[in-house]
Each structure stands twice: as structure tokens, then as C-alpha cells.
């Protein structure tokens, strides 16, 4: 809008002209947003095209000297009025500038598109589970023991109190290495059927006290089905000292199960039989899915069988004592335990086919990212 020319420099004419300008300023609605306020400011006070600048150029410059004083006074009043309007904010302040997606054009991005990421690889659920179990026992003072996957009959069976030709050997169908027939039985090589041989190897190397946890791969000559595999993984443990009791075994495993599955988990111990422990026990934990009320996963029993354990059989200590006389069963005692990693991982992650662990199927593995 053009600045009108003044008819004359009389006070009345000045008053009328400035009243019109004030009315014009007042006719604009009060600013509600930062944007509106800024527009209003630029409209009136902008350095180059602001209305006041134009007024100053149109009127002040050409005014005769006698009118300048009155003109300046009225000009300043108008400016104060405009400034006051700028300060006159609605209650609650101004809304921030609403960047219109369309108006912003190319500068705007679609924040809802997926981000760019370099996906890490997935840990294998078995190795992950095995590491978790090991970590629980490490925190309880257990060192990690490892040993060969191809073992002698002596370490896998005989020294663990599986005498030659004993029916207990039937429970662990064994895969044997070819060409062993000419050797004495105890020297024959086989795929270890459990990680327990590492217990004997450790005791032979190291006098008590011993606390070890043994993760590893084991093999049995079993037919594969949804829950059995000839290849599987175990974590075993051994604790020997001069004062270890059956109640220590119970307490240790109860603590470990709580650490692994949550503090509300309960444990239950049943008599069982393993040649290398006596007394022996099977351990059940209260079902981690239903809390013990009974569900499909625990076959409505409220309990899940998880591991085997027991007090180390004196006969096993006697074998160890051949190398380390400190394993005198009348002076020391200890417990051992073992669990299948597949079973625990299947339960934890809801895996129904054990074969998937060994398939390398990316679709299976990527679930564990």
C-alpha cells in the first residue's frame, strides 16, 4: 500500500494521516505464531521496505523545517505503538513456526523411512546360551575348563566309573574312531559322549580346591529327530574341596538357575543315577513360562527338567588320586553337574526343531540379532 501524499503540513492533516496509519496497524490481527509476528515486524519495521521506512522517506525528508518537529513526534509515537503491538503477545506465548512439509520443499526429509545401518552378525543361540551359562558360574568363582572332543575310553568312561562292559555304558551310545580294535580298551579313541572327561583331566593336573565349568561339543550315536541330535553341546561343572556337601550342590544350582532364569525360579531335586556321582540327582526348575501353574511348554506339570548332578563318586576320586594323591575321598568331597545347551536354548527361544541349530539357515540365525 502506497504512502499517501499529505495535502499540507498542518497539524490536523498530520493527525489524520497518522491516525490512519495507527488504525491500519491495529487492523492486523494480533500475531499467534513466531512467523506471523516476524511478518508483522517486517511489514512495519523492515529496514528497506518497512512502512515506517517508507513514511520516513515520503514525509520526513520533504517536510518543511517548521513541520519536522511535530512530524517527528507523531512518527515516534507510531513507532512505539507498533513496537508495543509486537510485544503484545497472546497468553501462553507464540507457537513455534510450523514448518509446512509442502512449503519447505526439498530441504525436508521423510523421517519415517527406515534408517541406514550396518547390521551386525547374529550370535548363534547355542553359543550365546552356552556363554551365558558359563558366565553365571564364572561369577561364582568357576574357572573355564576345556578338553579334546576325541577322547580315550579311559577318560570318557573308565575313569568316570563306567567299568568295561557295564550296562551304564548303554545309555551313551558312542561314536568310535576307526582302527581302534587292536588297542587296549582304555586307549581306544572315541567321540566324547559328555564333557565330563575334562573333569578327570583337570583333577589330574590340579590338586583341590577345584571349581571348573566346562562348555563343549559332544557326540552320541543317536538317531536324529526333532529333539535329539547326534551332535550337541553341554556345560558341565565340578567343585571339589575339603568341605563340599550335598546341600552345597543344591544351593549352588539353585543360585545358578535363579541367575540364569530369574530370581523367582524354584528348583527341585530328584534322585537319579549317573555312574560318576553318588548321590545323583536330576534337577527341575519351575516352568519359566507359566511360573509353575502348568502350561503346554511344561506339559502341565509346572516343572521343566534341566540338568543332572550329584556328589562325585569316591571311585572317580580314586582314579584322580592316581595322579594327584590329594584327591583322597576320605578327606575331600565335591559335586559335579551337567546340562544340555540345546535343550535350554530350545526352551529359552521357543525352538522346536533341534536340527535348525546346525543348518546355518540365515533366516533362523537372523532371529537372534
Amino acid at each position: 500500500m502506497q504512502i499517501p501524499l499529505l495535502a499540507d503540513w498542518s497539524e490536523a492533516s498530520l493527525a489524520q494521516a497518522f491516525a490512519a496509519l495507527t488504525a491500519e496497524a491495529d487492523s492486523a490481527p494480533p500475531p499467534r505464531t513466531e512467523e506471523e509476528r516476524e511478518n508483522f515486524r517486517l511489514h512495519w519495521l523492515g529496514r528497506k521496505q518497512g512502512r515506517l521506512k517508507l513514511v520516513s522517506e515520503a514525509w520526513l525528508k520533504s517536510a518543511p523545517n517548521e513541520a519536522k518537529r511535530e512530524l517527528g513526534k507523531r512518527f515516534n509515537l507510531l513507532k512505539e505503538h507498533i513496537l508495543a503491538r509486537l510485544e503484545d503477545l497472546p497468553a501462553g506465548g507464540l507457537e513455534p513456526a510450523a514448518a509446512s512439509f509442502a512449503a519447505a520443499g526439498e530441504a525436508a526429509i521423510d523421517v519415517t523411512l527406515p534408517g541406514t545401518r550396518k547390521r551386525p552378525g547374529a550370535e548363534h543361540p547355542l553359543i550365546k546360551t552356552m556363554n551365558e551359562i558359563v558366565a553365571v558360574f564364572e561369577a561364582m568363582g568357576y574357572s573355564i575348563g576345556i578338553g579334546p572332543e576325541v577322547e580315550t575310553d579311559y577318560y570318557n568312561f573308565e575313569s568316570l566309573n563306567f567299568p568295561p562292559n557295564h550296562p551304564a555304558r548303554d545309555t551313551q551310545d558312542t561314536l568310535v574312531i576307526a582302527g581302534q580294535e587292536t588297542k587296549p580298551l582304555r586307549e581306544r579313541l572315541l567321540m566324547r559322549t559328555h564333557t565330563s572327561p575334562v573333569q578327570m583331566r583337570t583333577m589330574e593336573r590340579q590338586p583341590p580346591p577345584v571349581r571348573i565349568v566346562i562348555p563343549g561339543k559332544v557326540h552320541r550315536n543317536d538317531a536324529a529327530d526333532a529333539t535329539h541330535s547326534p551332535i550337541f553341546h553341554q556345560v558341565e561343572g565340578l567343585c571339589v574341596d575339603d568341605n563340599i556337601t550335598f546341600s552345597d550342590l543344591k544351593g549352588t544350582l539353585d543360585h545358578a538357575m535363579k541367575a540364569l532364569f530369574g530370581s523367582s525360579v524354584k528348583t527341585r531335586f530328584f534322585p537319579s543315577f549317573f555312574p560318576f556321582t553318588e548321590p545323583s540327582a536330576d534337577v527341575q526348575i519351575s516352568c519359566i513360562f507359566c511360573g509353575g501353574a502348568g502350561c503346554k511348554k511344561c506339559k502341565q506339570s509346572g516343572w521343566i527338567e534341566l540338568l543332572g548332578c550329584g556328589m562325585v563318586d569316591p571311585a572317580v576320586f580314586a582314579f584322580a588320586a592316581r595322579e594327584q594323591p590329594a584327591y583322597d575321598p576320605s578327606r575331600i568331597s565335591g559335586f559335579a553337574f551337567g546340562m544340555g545347551v540345546e535343550r535350554i536354548a530350545m526352551m529359552k527361544y521357543g525352538i522346536t526343531d533341534i536340527g535348525q541349530f546346525y543348518s546355518g539357515d540365515m533366516r533362523f540365525l537372523e532371529q537372534f540379532l
Binding site: P167, I231, T245, S247, K250, P271
Partner: protein
Amino acid sequence: MKVLSNWLRSYLPGLTAGDRELAEALTLRGIAVEGIFDLGPGNGHLFEMDITTNRVDAMNHYGIAREAAAIYGLPLAPLAAAGFAAGNSPSAKPPIEVRMEAPDLCGRFTARVLKNVQIQPSTGEVRERFALLEQKPISNAVDATNYVTLAIGHPTHAFDLDKVEGAIVLRRARQGEKLKTLDGVERVLDPEDLVVADERKALALAGVMGGWETMIAPETKNVLVEAAWFDPLSIRRSSKRHGLHTDASHRFERGADFNAPPLASAFVSQLLLLAGGGVEGGLVDVIVPAAAARTAGRPRIALRHREVRRILGATEDGRGVDWESSRRLLQALGCGLEEAGSDAYSVSLPSWRLDLEREIDLIEEIARVYGYDRFANTLPVFSGAVVSPPDRAKQAEVRRGLLALGWSEAVSSSFCSAADAAVFAPQPGTAVAMGNPLSEEAGMLRPSLLPGMLAMLANNLNRNVSDVQLFEIGTCFSGAPARVNERPALALGLSGASDAGPHLPLRAFDFYDIKGAVEEILDRFAAGPVFFEPFSGAAGLAPSWLHPLRSARVVAAGETVACFGELPPAEAQQRKLRQAVFVGEVYLDRLYRLPLRHPIARELSRYQAVRRDFSFVFPTAVRWQQIAEAIGGLDIADLAGFAPREIFRGGRAQKAEAKAAAGLPAGHYSILIGVAFQSPSRTLRDEELQSYSQSIVAALEAIGGKQRA
């Protein structure tokens, strides 16, 4: 094993607990009831039992009832067969002669002769209980022996006496001797098999299975009832040798009750005579004293109270297992206890519990029947040190590095086929064969992880999963029957393309992706200079599983630590891999000999780094390694680093014109090398930078490079 609750109750007149409660109590004491099935009104329940292999005494109704009696502190009904005196009756003339010619294999043999019996279907309790157990009835004679096994656990056998010629002889089989067993199979016996024979022929494979010829038939009139005790090891060997696992062998090989034969014989006879007939003469009972001494007559053992407490520890009630409980529980199980001082008992062992031999066995029995649930949960104190295997940290580093780069972890079979073993064994002829392989494809111990890796790659591609990036850390085997060596190894398998998305284009994996993984691993070790060498000339030929021109071996600290590259097309085709596949093996045993790299911080320069790019054209024969050595060899103190930034080869598909247009003569490639200079102590002057640049240009020209304008 199936068990009837009502049958158990017949031995437990005082039992008030319900069937489910009884099952729970038994299970908590290790006599596991796996399933409970309601048999309808008045019939009680059928228990599906899982009896551990050491508890042959509990593989029958009476044995389980004995456990229940011990648990509830109830009396157990005594076993007796009215009208049958135990042992030899001196007055009666033996009805048949028994000659013991193998006293080491047969510890006791009883024979009873029944005359004029009627072979017919079983009746009464036998028939009812068999029906509830879903046990198929055969005839009253056969059913009687089975019934007694179910009742008291002692296997017996009935022979058609009229087919027996002369005396009964317990002897080893003769070389080449044949016997047709009840299953209709004619078997060639081994001289170590114990047979029940007559004077002319073998009648039965003792303790395992009876013979065809003396089988009870509908017309059988006279019966010989055998109840014996056989040496467990002998039975086990015969059973294994002939692949015959029977209810009888299962029990004998675990150690039957030496004192049971007369009673078992009496029960069988009693049942059979229900249909008519009578006993002739007394029971012939031949006992081998040495066997009796090893079993029923084995010496008493000492049980010390302090040993009970030392092993078992704290109970929930805080008092520990008391001495009185120990005594009561053991007596209920059939032990005889005599005080031997204030802290010990002298304990006689029941003949049916050959698994009890030592003090610890008694302690286990005390804990078991006392109830594991009544022991406290305590934690032992410990004062040792915690150590890790030396390679554990290194393996964790390797694994961490690969996971971070996007490689997923796999676990594969420890076995492979003989064909794969031949291809992948690092040294020919060192693969180890299995004696009883799971299958033909699993005939060898894996000499390398690669057969498994390729199987997993194929597995994915066959299921239309085309992007695969896998690693496996595992054990590889080599050696001979005398000795098998194990080494840790890492396999890498790669195919397809990297993650793509709306912001990044799809990029096919190539050689440099697998090389990147190898570099990442090596970077974590203080490996010193590492060389990636192509397989050619001095480095020798590529293994058959690597493309000869697109593969490398990695040498660090003077040893080959890895081989990797593209699978050759022929190998890929044979495995039906329809796209390019990259594989590699890292010999972790060698890598683990190197220490992990330990970073040492250096002072960061406060002065600006200056970057200069050098654009060169080289003949194809000049490799980056030479370029790097040429620049590195200048020993410019202020050289902060250099790297290839862009390489243009034109590519195989690129036309000669395009190459020419790019100013690239045939047989050449262009490369842009970025170099950074930086001094730790001052700002570099223009003349210095000028001189560094000139020396680099000269060095690159010396190896055949031509700087581009």
C-alpha cells in the same frame, strides 16, 4: 515299565495315600512315575515308570512296594508260596540231575519238575492283570514266568521236560554249536555263551532266551521250571553278541537277586498247577559257593554317622540327617544294622541290592529316601583363583570382530564325507575315519570346517536365501588311528549381496568383503607385517577348493594363517551353488600363537594434516603391494598415511573404446592414491610438501607408473 497301583497295594496293606500321592512320593525318591493312567473304577491306576539302570531291584511290583514301605514307614507284606519249601529237601530224591560245568558263569540253578500239567490260557489274577497291563497272554506256563518277573523281578523259564534228554547241564557252548531260539532264529553259539543244555544239546541261551525245541506247546504234559542266577557280565556279553535284549537279560545283566530263585520257582509252579498237575520230588538247587559269597553273602560294611553328615550337609530343619532316621530308612530297604561303636553301624546288605557295595551307596540311599527336598540350599566358601584357558580371550576377539562386521555365527556337523575330506584336508591323507559312522556322508572327522560351511551355503541358496554371510569357529581333526590331533579353526562363507535399502544401493559381495573379514581378525592380533599372496609361483598352487586367480593365502609371522577366495566354478557347480561363493579358512591355532594387539596411545599432532592426491596409470602387473612398498620405502618421517582411493580398470565387460576414452591403454589401470602428511611438531612448509610429492612421484614412476595430468 508299566506298574499297577492295585498290585502295589496288595503288598502294602497299611497304605492310605492315594495313587497320585504315591506316584509323587515315589518320583521324589527316584522311582520315577512318568505317567499315570486311570484304569476305571476299582482298577486303580497304571503307572508308566522310568527306573534307572542301577535299580534292577525296583523293576517289579514288589520292589516298588518296598520303596513305598520305606517312604511311608509301613510294613511290607512278606512273600511266601504256600506248600513250597525253600531249598533242597534232603529226603526227596532229586527229580532230575543238574550238572554245573560252568560255575563261573552260573551262580545258582534250581530245577523243579511238574507233571501232568494242563497248558491252557491263563485265568484269574494273571489274566486280569495282564489285561490291565496290555501284556499279551500266551499260555498259563509262559504267562506264569512273565507274571513272576513282573511281580518279584526274577526271570524264570519253563521247558517241555519231555524234550529234555537226560540230565540238565550248565556249560559253555561248543565251538560252532547251533541253537534255534524262541524267536525262531537259528543262532551259532560262541564258546563264551552259557547254555542250559541236556546231555545231547543246548536247550536255551541261559538268561537270554529259551530254545525252540523245548518250547512249551499246547500238548506239553511235563514241565521243568528253571529259576537261576547267572553272572551279569556273561549275560551281557551273550545278549550283545547275539543282539538279543530281553526282559530276562535286562535283569540278569544288572544283577538279579541271588536268593530269589527258589521263591520264583515256587510262584511259577503254583500258578501253573492251578490248571492241574503236581510237583514231582523236591527242588533241585545247585549253589556255587563263590557266587553266593559275592552276592547274598557279601560282607557287612561300616556306616559312619560323621561320614553321612560330611557328604550330605545341612537339612532344612537345621539338624542334619539324624542317626535314627538313617537306621530306620536302611532297615526298611532290607539292610541289617548292628551298632558298631557310638558313631557307626555294621550293615548287612540285601541280596537284591547288588548296587550297594560301599558306604557311599548307603549314604545315597539315606539321602534318597530321606528326601532330597528336605536338604537345605547352602553355598560353599571358596578361596581359589579363577583362570581362563589362554585362547579364550583371543577367540572372543575374533568372534566379536566378525559379528560386528555382519557375519552371523553358525555351528555345523563335526563329520564329513570321505570325498570332502580328500578335498579339504590341509595335508593329504591325514583325515580320520569313523569306526561306526552315523551315515556315509559322515564317515570322516572333518579335517576342515569348509565342508560344513559349503553345506550351509547350499542349504541357504536352495531355500532361496541368497544373501549369506556366515562364520563358524570349531575343531578340526587330523591324524591316524593311533592319535588324533585337534586344532581350532575358523571358516568363512559369503555369497549374495550386502544389506541394501532406500538410501544405499545393493552391492554384490566380492573377494574384498571376505578379505576385509580376514583383515579385521588379523588387526586384532600383534601380527607384525601380514602378506596376502596370490597362489602362483613361489606360493605354490591353490587348493582345489579355491579359484586359482581369485584367492589368496595370508602369511603372518612366517606362517600361513589363512586361505580364502572364490570357490572355483567347477566346485560350485558340483555343489549346485548357483551364484558366486567366497570361502575361507583361518588357522586359529597358528593365529592364537600371536599375542592380541595392545593399543598404545600416541600424541596427537596439533598441526594440520595436508592431503595430496596422486593420479597414476600402472601396468596391470604392478600390484598395490608394490606401490605401498614404494611409498613406504621412502621413509618420509612426516608421512601420516596413504591409501588407494579410486581404481579404474575398465572391467571385463568394458569395451576397448571406453577404456581408450578414459585415457587408459590396454593392460593398464588407473589409480588415485591419497596421501596425508603431518608433523607432530610444526606446520609443514610448501617446499617440504613439494619435495615429498616429488619423491613419491619418482618412486611410483620407478615401478612403472605414469602420473596423469
